[in-house]
């Protein structure tokens, strides 16, 4: 016979834990396990005729140079986007926590790119790169701008990083603004009284105090960059000649154009493992250096 106290605990478990667990299991765990199962079979996407083929899908993807190239360029894109979006996010965060007139208006205006969907944003920027910048380049006689960045493999990758960072930094800015706002004013004041320059205050006081924001922002940026899809599809469509096809876009194409669902799922599992490993390592090492108040 349960005591009244234990019964109350069980009621609470039933009320809060079970529904959440049910949702988590049905929307996250079961699809995830099903996805892993699909990576070991050959399947047409509709029926129940799963043909178990063991590790064949994994062997195939690792012997495919294009998969490895796609992983490599996703890593390059991620490094570029994580670095640029965080530098921009910190700069914007600093600017918008300073005594700037109309800073609330600027915060809203700068956040707008993050509200625009990736698909719309990709198309808008495609027109800017293909017609806007080239028109400026041609009219001003600037050779570097007179051809579209999107038609050159290296420049197209840079364009992708610029557009993604432009959008992501707006989101990260909000987290950095919260971080900078929480830095105790007396610490900054004390450093200034001790004769620290603005750069020294930033480097030795303010940045160390926002390490928890940095941990979150790096995590978000890494995950988002590895999973990039919409901007990749609409801005470059993997081009020119497949030199900007990121791994998530490749997975989508393998599944829904090539109709190789098992192969696509094997790629997705590999991507999951990579992102999980990097994210956990990053969160562990950056959180170790956080300043506890």
């Amino acid at each position: 016979m349960l005591s009244a106290q234990k019964r109350d605990v069980w009621k609470l478990i039933l009320l809060f834990f079970v529904p959440a667990m049910f949702v988590w299991l049905t929307t996250m765990v079961i699809p995830f396990l099903y996805g892993i199962w699909i990576s070991f079979v050959q399947w047409d996407g509709i029926g129940n005729n799963y043909e178990f083929i063991g590790l064949q899908n994994y062997i195939k993807i690792f012997s495919n140079a294009k998969f490895l190239q796609s992983l490599g360029r996703t890593a390059i894109y991620t490094i570029g986007t994580v670095a640029l979006s965080n530098v921009l996010g910190i700069a914007l965060g600093l600017l918008l926590t300073s005594a700037l007139k109309g800073r609330n208006l600027f915060r809203t205006a700068i956040f707008v790119p993050n509200v625009i969907g990736g698909v719309a944003m990709g198309y808008i920027w495609k027109y800017i790169f293909n017609y806007g910048f080239t028109a400026i380049g041609i009219s001003l006689g600037i050779q570097a701008l007179s051809t579209s960045m999107l038609s050159d493999p290296t420049k197209a990758m840079i364009a992708l990083i610029i557009v993604s960072s432009w959008q992501l930094s707006a989101y990260l800015m909000i987290i950095y603004v919260a971080g900078f706002t929480n830095v105790p004013a007396e610490l900054v004041e004390a450093a200034r009284v001790d004769g620290a320059s603005s750069w020294s205050v930033l480097r030795n006081v303010r940045l160390p105090m926002i390490r928890s924001s940095l941990t979150i922002c790096l995590f978000l940026a890494i995950v988002r960059s590895f999973m990039v899809f919409e901007v990749n599809m609409t801005l470059t469509d993997g081009g020119p000649f497949n030199t900007t096809e990121m791994i998530a876009f490749r997975i989508y194409n393998t599944a829904f154009v090539s109709l190789k669902f098992g192969n696509a799922q094997a790629q997705a599992v590999v991507l999951f493992v990579i992102v999980a490993l990097i994210s956990v390592c990053q969160a562990y090492f950056t959180s170790k250096r956080e300043v506890q108040m």
């Binding site: 047409d44 996407g45 509709i46 029926g47 698909v119 495609k126 027109y127 790169f129 293909n130 017609y131 080239t134 007179s146 051809t147 579209s148 999107l150 038609s151 469509d237 993997g238 081009g239 020119p240 000649f241 497949n242 989508y252 194409n253 599944a255 829904f256 154009v257 090539s258 109709l259």
Partner: protein
């Protein structure tokens, strides 16, 4: 006597019950669903389905519009156990999933005689089963601006006289001499990989159906050497000409479909290799009579009738699910598919809303799409090159893998021999 009367009454009661049951089953309401990959006309499609339901009181149709991910959304419906009873899909997809599709070529087939063309796009090699009803017909080749042709070549110029490659070059040269770029090459991977290369490569240009299949199968076995194939070289020779006269030659990959079509429609360039489906975008900046389609000659033999033909296909078809639909739903689905394709209301919808050419008899609706009218003229004259081998039998990701190689070729980053070997390698890798 009493027994006889009782037996008579019982028999009458049974008869009444059975009749009632029979009547009930004949009118048993059935709910089905329709998934359409025809984007942008959802309200009009719903109105069309309302009309169908008004004419078929026992059938309720739920509409599933497609999103950006047409096939992904369709597969998701199957995964959810809510497969659409009737789907309007690309014919290649229907054939990929033919194991789950209704075969129209059974029982009553009289109605099929009203479909004049396109059944071959819904059939698999070696089978007489037909897995879809063609919904429309589309033609493609060289779109041209009529005003510019009249201005440069004269009012009476007949584009059908451009029936050799040399004449095509002369045709283009005249535009260049007048200061008008002769053509624009749309550089999207699907346009280059599928429309220009795939559709033309595995087409009647190769010969009859068996020859087309042998070339395609030879790529799987490694027997076909494209660089030695005369048709492949003709195709690429003409592509070189298009490259040479391309208005975007300085930066060939920095274009968009809308931008290219606008240049054609507004007279900044004279021609563009694309199809009649583009009218939906073009009509915002072109008058009805400004554009038409002309053949793209690939050889210098003016007696070769193929130089006077355009490419044509039935790209989409209505199919009926047999995997998750009950026999009653399948029967209602077949009724809906037939009605959508062949009823006056269905034909009017495809012509007025989509601007399609229809491969059916008794089409009494005036088509406002001049490019579709052009296609219809070629279709009526039998001047259409069959591309069903590519659409129905080539791998579904041909354009995805080969399109980027074509882009590299267009940008001068790849030579023809490498292109040919990459195509061969792709088939070996499948």
């Amino acid at each position: 006597m009493l027994k006889k009367l009782a037996a008579l009454l019982m028999a009458a009661a049974m008869l009444l019950t059975m009749t009632a049951a029979g009547a009930e089953s004949a009118q048993a309401p059935v709910t089905i669903s329709f998934y359409s990959t025809q984007a942008g006309v959802d309200d009009e499609t719903i109105a069309l389905l309302d009309e169908f339901m008004a004419q078929h009181p026992g059938i309720t149709v739920n509409y599933y519009p497609c999103g950006d991910d047409q096939l992904a959304a369709w597969l998701a419906l199957y995964s959810a156990g809510t497969a659409p009873t009737v789907s309007l899909l690309d014919v290649g997809q229907i054939l990929n999933y033919s194991d789950y599709m209704y075969n129209f070529n059974q029982s009553d087939t009289e109605w099929m005689s009203h479909v004049l063309s396109g059944w071959e796009f819904c059939q698999k090699e070696g089978s007489d089963a037909i897995y879809g009803i063609p919904s429309s017909y589309q033609g493609f080749a060289l779109l041209y601006n009529k005003d510019l042709v009249a201005q440069v070549h004269g009012e009476d110029f007949d584009v059908s006289t451009v029936n050799t490659v040399d004449k095509l070059v002369a045709f283009f040269d005249a535009f260049e001499a007048a200061g008008i770029p002769a053509t624009v090459v749309f550089s999207a991977d699907w346009a280059l990989g599928s429309h220009y290369l795939g559709c033309q490569l595995f087409s009647e240009w190769l010969g009859d159906k068996e020859t087309q299949r042998s070339i395609l199968k030879g790529l799987y076995t490694g027997e076909t050497k494209l660089i030695e194939n005369e048709h492949f070289n003709n195709l690429m020779d003409v592509f070189d000409i298009l490259k040479q006269y391309n208005i975007n030659d300085a930066d060939p990959l920095a274009d968009t479909q809308e931008g290219d079509l606008e240049m054609l429609a507004t007279g900044k360039t004279a021609t563009m290799f694309q199809g009649d489906w583009n009218w939906l975008q073009i009509q915002t900046f072109a008058d009805r009579d400004e554009l038409a389609i002309m053949p793209l000659p690939l050889t210098n033999d003016e007696t070769d009738p193929r130089n006077s033909m355009i490419l044509g296909s039935c790209p989409k078809a209505y199919c009926v699910d047999t995997y998750q639909s009950t026999p009653e739903q399948q029967a209602a689905g077949v009724e809906l598919a037939k009605w959508l394709a062949l009823s006056d209301e269905g034909k009017e919808f495809m012509v007025t809303q989509i601007g399609s050419t229809l491969p059916f008899d008794e089409v009494n609706v005036v088509n406002e799409n001049p490019l579709a009218v052009s296609t219809q003229e070629y279709l009526n004259a039998g001047k259409i090159l069959d591309i069903s081998t590519f659409l129905c039998e080539a791998p579904s990701d041909f354009w995805l893998i080969i399109g980027p190689y074509m882009q590299a070729y267009l940008a001068g980053q790849m030579d023809r021999a490498t292109l040919a070997s990459e195509i061969e390698a792709y088939f070996q890798d499948i």
